[in-house]
């Protein structure tokens, strides 16, 4: 994507400061705590940003259905107080498709990871995108299989260490956003977990998009990726991903919540921001037009 125009970017002018950030506890199942995520994992930051987006948009809590697959990111669905479906590995977009077609009034959000959404579930993801089903997909990309113990994922960078790539990964990784743009997703964005306020803004934008909205959240896995690749713990990993953020039209915001900690920079940078936005008919399944059936 070389000639993406700035006018597809969401409105980033609204200042949200740390002290103004919403209290999102009413969206959490407090009875389900403590959660399963490791200390320092950025998935929690992503979840908080999402709940802030829900709060800012004043979405009806009863009408949000969160559908997840299998993996660390998918476990987030268990802790939010919406209708939540923790399905099978990679199939969340397929469950969500049936759910959305049966109940178009629901706000359907899919939470998936890079292994869940791009390996075992890649087929479902691209077809949901192609159909332009009105749902928002949050793909938390931590470049590794976290829940199963740090195996190589379809997003693991070449050369990176994983438990099934002890000498360094020998496969090229997917660019999730390019894949989804190719599949015809009507909204594609990438944000880095190091930038929580940008995450909230882009999620608000994606949730408001009529049709299939795909948001890649560049997250991390200090427990496995960070440890195997000697990057460090949570803060170091956040910084490691933050320095990969090339932005798309300059930095989305000056705000960084992570102090600069010197780390070996990764080889490749990735663009962030809204990469594709188009308005096209939303898929509703084969059904009678409103009022046509008897």
């Amino acid at each position: 994507m070389t000639d993406v125009k700035i006018d597809i970017q969401p409105d980033m002018t609204t200042e949200v400061t740390a002290t103004e950030r919403a209290d999102v506890r009413s969206y959490l199942r407090q009875w389900a705590m403590p959660h399963v995520l490791c200390p320092g994992c950025a998935h929690g930051i992503v979840l908080r940003s999402f709940l802030e987006a829900v709060d800012q948009l004043q979405l009806d809590q009863d009408k949000i259905a969160m559908v997840a697959g299998i993996g660390c990111s998918s476990r987030l669905a268990g802790y939010v107080d919406f209708c939540t479906l923790h399905g099978t590995h990679g199939r969340a977009p397929a469950f969500a498709t049936g759910l959305k077609l049966a109940r178009p009034d629901l706000n359907v959000v899919v939470v998936t990871g890079d292994g869940d959404g791009l390996a075992i579930g890649g087929n479902h993801l691209i077809h949901a995108a192609r159909r332009n089903i009105d749902m928002t997909v949050l793909l938390l990309n931590n470049s590794i299989y976290g829940m199963t113990g740090g195996q190589a994922a379809p997003t693991t960078p070449e050369g990176a260490i994983a438990s099934t790539a002890p000498q360094g990964h020998i496969e090229p990784g997917f660019d999730a956003c390019k894949l989804l743009m190719g599949a015809g997703a009507s909204y594609v964005a990438r944000v880095f977990a190091a930038n929580p306020i940008e995450m909230t803004k882009v999620m608000m934008d994606g949730l408001s998009h009529p049709g299939f909205a795909f948001i890649e959240l560049v997250s991390d896995c200090p427990e496995y990726f960070g440890r195997y690749n000697k990057i460090g713990g949570g803060p170091e990993m956040l910084n490691w991903i933050a320095v990969r953020d090339e932005g798309i039209a300059g930095p989305l915001s000056e705000k960084r919540f992570v102090e600069h900690i010197p780390v070996k920079p990764p080889a490749i940078g990735v663009k962030s921001g809204v990469l594709q936005r188009e308005i096209r008919p939303v898929y509703a399944g084969v059904r009678a037009a409103e009022g046509q059936h008897t």
């Binding site: 479906l85 199939r91 397929a94 498709t97 077809h127």
Partner: protein
């Protein structure tokens, strides 16, 4: 609830079409499928008929997602169905287990063709009987119904939906290519009795999605109606939340079985024909059951005291009914279009009270009445 069917009476229809009509009579309003011979007519009829009843139809990207889509729709309150055949049924095993564990009512039709693998797409088979019971991993309950005629496809499709709703479980309708593609004149009933899932009546804040009633079946709330809850395929507690507590997991898995096993009278249906004075009985199901009936009638004309036991419910297996037959007769002939899948169950039920022999065909040829007549004659000759 009893609902009227429009256009009752005599009709010439195909088995797969009868399935669609039975589904619509049951209140089916969501179909998610993927084309595969010899089941594709179901998808083709559904896409035309769903809009007329206010329902939705979608052709998914594969059979894994087809079953996932109907599970999603069912959680949203729809009555949902999918249909497939052998290779697609293999892909559906993952979500049959999910639907059993998460207790999501849905109906899965498998129009059996020759296997293994892609096998013989346009030939009949009964090769998926054990797969329908045990295909998905782990201890799980299974309800599998096997119609033997176009009319019975209609009736058992209605029953499949009713059992799915009654017990919050996936129900499999299993018939072969011959029944799927045969056109027969059937008389549709004026009305059918329809069972709907039990919905919770307790206050919103007191609702837990997996709190079962004494019957073992939890009430079900559709997504989006104000009760916010979690659904998972992981072992879970009454709150629907994952647990590693082995006692809770054991109680859950036992309940999934108990809710059906305690109501076998609602599930098991068996046709018994000329068994009162029989010396030999044929055990056959589906299309083979029809061959067997003719063979029994012809054998009777030749003075052979033959009878028929034909299960319409294959799983849970009608153990008590088969045991009863075994007490009456000397020999049970198990006839199947496979290399012997239910014969072991018959032996287990007969407990040596009758001799169990099998007559099996594979490769796409049906079991004919003549072949079974010869088997009966031979057994009669051997006993004489």
């Amino acid at each position: 609830m009893t609902i009227q069917i429009t256009m009752p009476g005599e009709k010439l229809i195909q088995g797969n079409e009868a399935c669609v009509m039975g589904a619509i009579a049951s209140g089916c309003n969501f179909y998610g499928g993927y084309p595969i011979t010899p089941s594709s007519e179901i998808a083709e009829h559904m896409v035309r008929r769903m809009p007329k009843v206010g329902g939705v139809s979608i052709q998914m990207e594969d059979e894994i997602s087809a079953l996932a889509s109907i599970i999603g729709a069912s959680l949203a309150g729809s009555k949902a169905m999918t249909a497939t055949s052998g290779p697609g049924f293999s892909l559906m095993q993952e979500h049959i287990g999910f639907a059993a564990m998460a207790e999501v009512p849905c109906v899965i039709v498998n129009v059996m063709r020759g296997g293994p693998s892609t096998g013989m797409p346009t030939s009949p088979s009964q090769g998926d009987v054990m797969q329908a019971r045990w295909g998905t991993h782990g201890d799980h309950p299974a309800i599998v119904l096997a119609p033997a005629s176009v009319g019975e496809v209609f009736d058992l499709t209605v029953k499949a939906f009713n059992l799915a709703e009654r017990f919050r479980t996936p129900v499999i309708l299993l018939y072969d290519e011959i029944i799927g593609h045969t056109r027969e004149s059937v008389s549709l009933p004026e009305s059918v009795t329809v069972i709907d899932r039990v919905t919770p009546d307790d206050a919103l804040e007191e609702f837990w999605p997996k709190e079962a009633d004494p019957d073992g079946v939890p009430a079900m709330s559709p997504f989006g109606d104000g009760r916010r809850f979690h659904v998972t395929g992981l072992a879970h507690d009454h709150r629907g939340f994952p647990t590693n507590d082995t006692a809770v997991a054991e109680a859950l898995i036992n309940r999934l079985h108990r809710k059906i096993d305690a109501h076998l009278d609602e599930v098991i249906e068996v046709e018994e024909y000329l068994l009162d004075d029989a010396d030999v009985a044929i055990f056959a199901y589906g299309i083979v059951g029809r061959s067997a009936k003719l063979a029994v009638e012809r054998a009777r004309l030749n003075g052979i005291k033959a009878g028929l036991i034909r299960p319409l419910t294959l799983w849970p297996f009608p153990t008590a009914q088969v045991a009863e037959v075994a007490r009456k007769v000397d020999t049970i002939v198990v006839a199947e279009m496979n290399l012997g899948q239910l014969v072991g169950e018959v032996e287990r039920a007969a407990k040596g009270q009758a001799e169990v022999v099998s007559h099996l065909r594979t490769g796409g040829e049906p079991v004919t009445p003549t072949a079974l007549e010869e088997v009966l004659a031979k057994i009669d000759g051997g006993n004489a």
